[in-house]
């Protein structure tokens, strides 16, 4: 038998280790749980997560569907990216709409302009129940927020979908155990140990596609609550909010009415990485109104079952 002589051993760098760790987690959860699902928003973190999932199971098809919790207040570029990515990967897409939750009378309608951010939790938990999912992969990272910094890689949720930060399962070594009783589920966060910079470096290394709004472009914006919001169907300028046309990009992607743009000329991945290296405001601090309500906004939402 002929065997190729071994090549010079390539040094594994920290991105290789993070990548393999994430792939390992994806495989463990798929092996231990009955019905996993991958939560896919079309943002950069979930795009990386889906990319890793494809790698973990190549050349087979993804052994689970992807699910978008659709608030109906999306950036159109992100929905276009979602659909293109799902088609390219051959994944099965489940869309759970916050509008349906509102129509069923389960939550109050905040109106066209009102924030639907917190309402998503109800839609998400209903969708997990209705589909009998026992594991949901999410792209959350521990460097995003101080409550997320406390969460396990496999995070147990009771039958109400709640996270109890005082009763987390010990999680030693890389022994992830995802067994749950009926009605309970786990959230699995393969990107837990990735930082924002790691994500961008990985996107550059893998030459991944992303929604255009991550890159610098001209847009009509208004200043509201200290953030530049894109003028559009969900953000109407008030009388005291002059519309400006500026070169901006989005550092995170959430609902159009609570995700702020940052002033930036970074139009390529390389320029974005340079910008992040010297940034002095955090990703969520720069761009998310939903975290500014209180000191423990994220912890409170996570306890209820948020992403």
């Amino acid at each position: 038998m002929t065997v190729t002589p071994p090549s010079v051993s390539r040094k594994t760098d920290h991105l290789d280790l993070l990548e393999s760790h994430a792939i390992f987690i994806l495989r463990e959860v798929v092996a231990e749980c009955e019905r996993p699902v991958l939560l896919f928003s079309g943002g950069k973190d979930s795009a990386v997560l889906l990319h890793l999932a494809v790698k973990a199971f190549a050349p087979q098809q993804l052994p689970f569907p992807v699910m978008h919790i659709d608030t109906g207040q999306n950036f159109p570029e992100v929905i276009a990216f979602r659909d293109a990515t799902v088609e390219r990967t051959g994944a099965r897409l489940v869309v759970a709409k916050v509008q349906d939750t509102i129509d069923q009378g389960k939550v109050a309608d905040p109106g066209l302009m009102g924030s639907r951010n917190r309402l998503q939790t109800v839609t998400l938990l209903d969708a997990i129940n209705d589909n009998d999912f026992d594991a949901a992969f999410g792209g959350a990272r521990r460097d995003e927020d101080k409550a997320r910094a406390k969460e396990r890689i496999l995070s147990f949720r009771d039958v109400f979908g709640q996270w109890d930060p005082r009763q987390q399962r010990p999680e030693l070594w890389q022994l992830y155990q995802g067994k749950v009783n009926p009605g309970e589920h786990v959230r699995a966060f393969p990107l837990s140990d990735w930082t924002e910079l790691d994500v961008w470096q990985y996107i550059e290394r893998e030459q991944m596609e992303l929604p255009e709004i991550y890159f610098a472009h001209e847009r009509d914006v208004i200043m509201r609550d200290g953030m530049w919001l894109a003028v559009g169907p969900f953000v109407e300028p008030r009388d005291d909010e002059p519309v400006k046309r500026l070169t901006v990009r989005f550092r995170t992607v959430g609902d159009a009415n609570c995700t702020g743009a940052v002033l930036s000329n970074a139009a390529t991945l390389e320029e974005i990485i340079d910008e992040i290296v010297i940034a002095n405001v955090s990703e969520r601090g720069a761009t998310r109104a939903d975290d500014k309500f209180s000191e423990t906004a994220m912890e409170d939402r996570k306890r209820e079952g948020y992403f």
């Binding site: 760098d13 101080k146 396990r152 030693l172 930082t195």
Partner: protein
């Protein structure tokens, strides 16, 4: 700007409650400018709201409402830092005895333990417990911050007394590298900035010691054999199958003679893939998939290994950290998760409990919550194991309560040399 990738050091803070672990990590992150402006503002605002001064550095990692209200750490916080020479994953662990399971969670993947203790209090029982657990978990290097030096007027005598205690214990526990540093996390002395108050001390700061220590110790184990616990079988186009898993112990290369266990079938690696692409070598820590020359019926829970081979056993002598609410007793049934295999086990004998003060094994018929002891487990199926001292992946396991699915113990194959 040139952003190169760097090596990665995983560290866990250990030590008793109130000796200043979270404050020291807060200081380390603030003084190396890892915190964004809005995060600093949030820490300042939270400090003011709770009337604890301008900037309570422990709030950098104590992010839960209950932690800030009680002024303690309940669960591990993971923080990330980058300096010009390396990247750090920091697990800031709780000090209270009731949260020992959380401390063990943080320390189980650490290359290094950063021990923080109060110079005036010396080595408390809880610090000894944590050092003992860190040693059991295979941590070989420790950096010891003898903290609150400002409260003893920067006294060299006070420092030296603690150094002697630590060195005696460290020798006993077999740490390979021990660096003891006088600090004041509160004032910033010798954390990142060299102290001007401690002129009698010539050694490194905490940051310098962390930057100089060995990275990747957790992935690189001492075993000479390579192991790949099979996670998942991938069907290849054309009908073949490959075996996916994370490589540990040593690299696997195309052409390597391997043994499939527990079937004990010898075969050869004919191909290695990563992410669907062929590669020649799977290095330690890589989640690869492997093609074997012979047709096998291998599946999840089996192991591919090179010589020297792991042992195949259905009775295992183990060291156990017990986290269950009720004591662990002989005859108890549990589920074991070892590598990618889950199997029922029964406690055959309990061979003793470790006395943390004397580091000796006392006779016992049960293990109480947060006690560490020795037990022999009988397994329902054949397990493929290495001694924990030679491989942290194939020598470790957790025990799971069959009714609640809760993780109730961390276990290691074999026993530490210091016992």
């Amino acid at each position: 700007m040139d952003v190169i990738t760097k090596d990665l050091l995983r560290l866990a803070t250990i030590g008793s409650v109130d000796d200043g672990k979270s404050t020291l990590i807060g200081r380390l992150l603030v003084d190396t400018r890892q915190l964004f402006d809005d995060q600093m503002d949030a820490v300042a605002a939270a400090s003011e709201k709770r009337g604890v001064g301008d900037l309570d550095l422990s709030f950098v990692t104590d992010g839960l409402r209950a932690e800030r209200e009680q002024g303690i750490t309940i669960d591990v916080a993971y923080r990330y830092a980058t300096t010009p020479t390396r990247k750090f994953i920091i697990a800031d662990c709780p000090g209270h005895v009731q949260y020992t399971a959380n401390m063990a969670t943080g320390a189980s993947t650490a290359d290094l333990a950063l021990v923080v203790l109060d110079v005036a209090a010396g080595l408390k029982e809880q610090t000894r417990r944590h050092l003992c657990i860190a040693a059991l978990l295979g941590v070989r290097s420790i950096v010891v911050a003898v903290n609150k030096m400002d409260a003893v007027d920067w006294s060299q005598i006070a420092f030296q007394r603690v150094v002697d205690e630590i060195e005696t214990l460290s020798r006993r526990l077999g740490f390979k590298s021990v660096n003891v540093i006088p600090t004041s996390a509160l004032l910033g002395d010798n954390v990142v900035e060299t102290s001007t108050n401690l002129t009698w001390y010539q050694g490194p700061t905490v940051l310098e010691a962390l930057e100089a220590s060995e990275a990747g110790a957790w992935e690189h184990t001492n075993t000479q054999g390579a192991r790949l616990p099979i996670q998942w079988v991938l069907r290849q186009p054309g009908g073949g199958r490959t075996y996916a898993g994370m490589v540990c112990g040593d690299s696997l290369r195309v052409g390597d003679k391997v043994t499939l266990l527990p079937a004990n079938v010898e075969t050869t690696i004919t191909g290695i893939n990563f992410g669907g692409e062929p590669i020649d070598e799977a290095t330690v820590g890589l989640a690869a998939d492997i093609d074997l020359e012979d047709e096998t019926s291998a599946g999840r829970g089996d192991m591919i290994a090179t010589k020297p081979l792991p042992k195949m056993v259905n009775e295992i002598a183990t060291t156990i950290c017990w986290f269950g609410e009720k004591p662990l007793a002989v005859g108890q049934r549990l589920r074991m998760k070892h590598t990618t295999k889950v199997a029922p086990v029964r406690v055959k004998t309990i061979n003793g409990v470790i006395d943390i003060e004397r580091l000796d094994v006392d006779e016992s018929i049960s293990l109480g919550t947060n006690e560490i002891g020795l037990a022999t487990l009988q397994t329902a199926s054949l397990m493929v194991v290495d001694d924990y001292r030679s491989n942290r992946v194939t020598g470790s396991f957790v025990l799971i309560d069959e009714a609640t699915n809760a993780t109730v113990a961390a276990g290691m194959v074999g026993r530490a040399s210091f016992l």
